[in-house]
């Protein structure tokens, strides 16, 4: 039983590397299981999708926050996620402890992203298409630097917490529960920062009306840097958490950026609550669908959901 489910885990994340590899289609689930088995399987996949959804929510909320405050359509966001995963690979390799990367990687990303926002991205802000093109350029630079230093071969980080819980008769890897807990903690921390601290008020004020915020004496430049750093750190943390689950690969960001853009569009650009809800629901739906369909077909189903949402509510489901 356990073996089959672990192969399911692999499959859920296999869309990441369609770029240069031919995938083998796996046997469909419903042919080889009885009804109670199917129910547990669906529950299992749902939980699995939710865990992945929490990671995607971290990334997509960063994207949404950056867009909302500074008007940057950040195409390099997926590559920051990838950089987080790669850095955690190095931290694990050199220091021998995966958990240190949860502290070290955000520090590195902070040191890189703050000057990046101030000196590279600042002139383009506000013009959506310019920021998009500029961040594509940054994305190329990050990808190629990683390709040059880390190499083009997907590598795996060994599971840092190889314990499995028995969850409704199914062995569930403990690391994923831990990932879910950490993600929820980070999200709660973000919420507390935005809604319960005075600096969060400044960020939200700049999100509503940047010019007015500046006129009220808020140091908008500092707020912009903070926001960009927070968004990037969220993406990098997502990468760190996902590194033992997915393979670490220099193009792994492309899959995630696609998913988080879909999430952000459905949830509503710049709406954090909508992004969170959309990430969780879409990822669990995709997780369940991936048991019946191939990963690409599941992705296509979500794409069609997005188009229907766009036709009915062009500004997303959760915008005021």
């Amino acid at each position: 039983m356990g073996g089959r489910f672990f192969s399911l885990l692999e499959r859920n994340s296999s869309t990441a590397h369609t770029h240069r590899r031919v995938r083998r289609r796996q046997p469909r689930l419903y042919r080889c299981l009885s009804l109670p088995d199917i129910l547990t399987t669906i529950l299992f996949l749902l939980v699995n999708g939710l865990v992945w959804g929490l990671i995607v929510a971290l990334i997509a909320i960063g994207l949404s926050l950056i867009f909302g405050v500074m008007g940057i359509v950040n195409m390099a966001h997926g590559d920051i996620y990838m950089a987080g995963a790669v850095l955690s690979f190095y931290v694990t390799g050199i220091l021998g402890n995966f958990w240190l990367s949860l502290i070290l990687v955000p520090a590195v990303v902070l040191l890189v992203s703050a000057p990046m926002e101030r000196f590279v991205l600042r002139p383009y802000e506000g013009h959506h298409s310019s920021t998009m093109i500029a961040t594509v350029g940054i994305s190329f630079i990050i990808q190629q630097i990683v390709l040059g230093t880390y190499g083009g071969i997907p590598k795996k980080i060994t599971n840092p917490w190889p314990i499995s819980f028995n969850f409704l008769g199914v062995d569930y890897p403990g690391y994923r529960f831990l990932v879910a807990c950490i993600s929820v903690l980070i999200l709660v921390g973000l919420w507390l920062f935005l809604y319960r601290t005075s600096y969060g008020i400044l960020v939200r004020a700049s999100m509503q009306d940047r010019e007015m915020a500046g006129a009220m004496g808020i140091d908008v430049s500092k707020v912009l840097i903070t926001t960009f750093v927070i968004g990037s750190v969220l993406a990098a943390l997502g990468g760190v958490l996902a590194a033992p689950i997915n393979q670490v690969f220099y193009l792994m960001g492309n899959d995630v950026i696609l998913l988080s853009f879909i999430v952000v569009i459905i949830g509503g650009l710049g709406s954090l609550k909508g992004t969170l809800i959309a990430a969780l629901s879409l990822c669990s739906v995709e997780g369940v669908l991936a048991s019946v369909l191939s990963p690409v077909q599941a992705r296509a189903a979500i794409f069609i959901v997005m188009i229907i949402v766009l036709i009915r509510r062009p500004r997303g489901l959760f915008t005021e």
Binding site: T15, T18, H19, R20, V22, R23, F67, G71, V73, M75, V120, P123, Y124, G126, H127, H128, S129, S130, M132, I133, A134, V136, G137, I138, S139, F140, I141, Q143, Q144, I145, L147, G148, R210, E211, N254, L258, F261, I262, V264, I265, L269, S294, V296, R299, A300, F303, M306, I307, L310, I311, P314, R315
Partner: protein, 329 residues
């Protein structure tokens, strides 16, 4: 967000009417030069120039969307790949000749552009950019996955029938014929697009770029004109994709890759957006850059990223835009 940009926009339109039209005789001279060069050039360079001319069509097509109506799309790889597969699949399965196959590629581009345009064009700038990018990514995934249809990464190769016009027959296997075949399409596309840009409709396109809100107040149906520009742009991108597949005698899922979405933007930005022929300069520069630098350094995409950042920073007018603005002021 748009309100904040408003003062800037007004400033731009207050300047004495900004000319972005290329002097026609220069372009005709350039086409004539290409005509002569076909006979003189050595073989390797000629094939490079053939590729450049195909990219020129893509760049011009993209310029209709980006330069004339200011819709920055990341989805043109879909049209490029769709056009290429229009040629490949119609020739493989329907056994049609080369010219009908090009109509198939135009048809594919038209259908894709209409579907994508109806969904994306009415949305705001940020939505437009993101959703065209999502379209591109999903189509790329599909092209990779549906190997029975597209051949995936390995691709499908073609056998070209010869073209017969009356009593004369040509074979595209002859690189010289291929060169002139592409040149004819390039000239015709330029003439059509140039005519369109100078027509009243082209003026409306430019007005959409300069001040969309004012045009709405004047009573124009902005959505319709933006959609038309998007579809025209998709058609020419598809034509370019079809010609590329014919020249390579091959089509693979790689024709849907991000390269074909980002390159047109870079070509247009370097050459000068909204000038139609300006992107040709961008094509030549970037093709030479890729040809030589990629041979010299594996990670040349780093330089490519830096170039993108620099062009955006220095000027969005591009080389030709700069030259024209110098000449007329």
């Amino acid at each position: 967000m748009t309100d904040r940009l408003e003062p800037e926009m007004n400033k731009r339109s207050e300047k004495p009417t900004e000319r972005r039209e290329t002097p026609k005789y220069l372009v005709l001279l350039f086409l004539l030069l290409l005509l002569v060069m076909g006979m003189v050039l050595p073989k390797g360079v000629r094939s490079l120039v053939t590729h450049m001319m195909i990219f020129c069509i893509l760049a011009m097509g993209y310029d209709v969307c980006f330069g004339l109506t200011n819709q920055c799309s990341l989805g043109h790889a879909v049209f490029f790949g769709g056009g290429a597969y229009g040629v490949v699949l119609s020739m493989l399965h329907l056994k049609v000749g080369i010219l009908p196959a090009i109509f198939f590629s135009l048809g594919a581009g038209f259908i894709l552009a209409v579907i994508m345009g109806l969904i994306c064009v009415r949305l705001s700038e940020a939505h437009f950019v993101i959703i065209t990018a999502i379209f591109f990514a999903v189509f790329h995934l599909f092209a990779m996955d549906l190997t029975w249809l597209t051949g995936g990464d390995d691709g499908l190769s073609l056998k070209l029938p010869s073209i017969s016009l009356g009593s004369v027959t040509f074979s595209l296997y002859d690189p010289m014929v291929n060169y002139y075949f592409v040149l004819i399409f390039l000239s015709v596309s330029y003439l059509i697009l140039n005519r369109m840009a100078r027509s009243p409709m082209g003026k409306i396109f430019v007005s959409i770029r300069e001040n969309e809100k004012r045009l709405q107040f004047l009573g124009y149906d902005v959505f319709r004109y933006k959609l038309i520009a998007f579809i025209v742009s998709g058609l020419f991108s598809a034509l370019s994709g079809g010609l590329y597949a014919l020249t390579l005698r091959y089509g693979s899922a790689d024709l849907f890759s991000f390269h074909w979405s980002i390159m047109p933007i870079v070509w247009c930005l370097i050459g000068g957006i909204g000038t139609l022929a300006g992107p040709w300069i961008g094509v030549v520069i970037m093709s030479l850059f890729q040809y030589y630098v990629s041979a010299w350094w594996t990670y040349y995409l780093i330089l490519f990223g830096i170039i993108i950042l620099l062009i955006l920073r220095i000027s969005r007018k591009g080389i030709l835009g700069y030259l024209i603005s110098r000449r007329f002021t």
